[in-house]
């Protein structure tokens, strides 16, 4: 017979991964029932690499493009919104489906609620104006500044668009330099150009 401490030590090497994962899945359901889930997130494949999309009960709060550090995004959400964050592809199904359709060129507008809580003041007004630029059209930083109430704040409008927490859905890629230059884009200029071409706004 094996020695007592030898038998006890075997427990350390016994895999519990699957049982613990099942327990965790049941726990997340219980947490949802008790309204203890403040933010859900999911990873979404796209022609431009993997995106991360996060939502509160109010709506989509953040979309993080490929190239951004996902753990940093989640830590930021934990700090600014709530640390009660869970991965839940299922709860983000409608958004994921619409993103798929959009990237496939089969959808022109997003029918999802938005939670604007990560934007404030002038930046929020710029982004709200941006959200109204139709598919296939473009606008300028200057025009967005004007719509947000300060025609001279072109640079601030550019900063607001650069800080857009919900790119793609809030189509900051439709905003160009007044002279017609592409300007900037968090997901890279190649992505901005490809989206505008797909939408028929660029040749």
């Amino acid at each position: 017979m094996a020695a007592v401490d030898e038998i006890l030590s075997r427990a350390r090497r016994t895999p519990v991964g699957e049982a613990a994962a099942q327990g965790a899945a049941r726990f997340v359901k219980a947490a949802e029932r008790e309204n203890l889930v403040d933010v859900v997130f999911a990873r979404v494949g796209s022609p431009f690499g993997e995106l991360l999309v996060a939502a509160t009960p109010k709506g989509v709060v953040q979309l993080s493009l490929y190239g951004y550090d996902q753990s940093e995004t989640l830590e930021g959400l934990a700090r600014k919104v709530s640390p009660r964050i869970f991965e839940s592809p299922r709860r983000l199904d409608p958004v994921r489906k619409q993103l798929d359709e959009y990237f496939a060129g089969k959808r022109r507008t997003f029918d999802v609620d938005l939670d604007w809580q990560l934007s404030h003041g002038f930046a929020l007004r710029v982004l709200e104006a941006t959200a109204r630029i139709p598919y296939g059209k473009v606008s300028s930083y200057r025009e967005m500044a004007e719509k947000a109430g300060n025609v001279r704040a072109t640079r601030a409008a550019g900063n607001a668009l650069g800080g857009n927490a919900i790119p793609v859905i809030v189509p900051c890629h439709r905003v160009l330099r007044s002279g017609g230059g592409l300007g900037g884009y968090g997901g890279g200029l190649a992505m901005k150009e490809a989206l505008l071409k797909m939408e028929g706004a660029l040749l």
Binding site: M1, V4, A20, A24, R26, L36, S71, P83
Partner: protein, 161 residues
């Protein structure tokens, strides 16, 4: 104004915390409570952690934190169970141990040990924790944690022979 110290670390998103510690909690509960109580105690532990989570200011020692919660929840479940008869026919099998009848028998004996000895032995052997961390979870001195493991082992050896 006090300067930020290295201990002022924000807790990570709950999903990362759950992924990082669910196995340790599961291992502890598997050794500490009866098989049919593991799941409930696991849910209770993480629900309790989730309720307290937004108020948590220091994220440096979350493993000890959640294992302390698990210990408390497990004691509740263990005491509750002692008062109730246990239906024998719906014992969930633990496939990982199926091949080791002697392991099974020994862990049944572990579950009959007094709370602190049982907890110390499970954390030491199933989770491989250092005595310092076990002491933190049991709210006792490091020496007392060692003593609990020694006493528990002695009893187990006595029962096995």
């Amino acid at each position: 104004m006090p300067r930020a110290r290295s201990t002022d670390v924000r807790p990570p998103p709950f999903q990362a915390f759950l992924d990082g510690h669910r196995e340790e909690v599961y291992r502890f509960l598997t050794g500490f409570v009866a098989p049919h109580d593991v799941d409930d105690a696991f849910q209770e532990t993480f629900l309790s952690a989730l309720r307290a989570y937004p108020g948590l200011r220091n994220g440096t020692n979350l493993k000890s934190w959640v294992l302390t919660i698990a210990y408390r929840k497990a004691m509740d479940s263990h005491r509750g169970r002692a008062r109730r008869p246990v239906p024998v026919d719906d014992l969930p099998e633990r496939p990982s141990r199926r091949s080791h009848a002697e392991d099974h028998a020994l862990w049944d004996l572990v579950r009959a040990l007094p709370d602190k000895q049982r907890a110390a032995i499970v954390q030491r052997y199933a989770n491989g924790l250092p005595y310092k961390e076990i002491a933190g979870i049991l709210e006792c001195s490091e020496e007392a944690a060692r003593q609990n493991v020694r006493e528990g082992l002695k009893k187990l050896k006595g029962m096995m022979t």
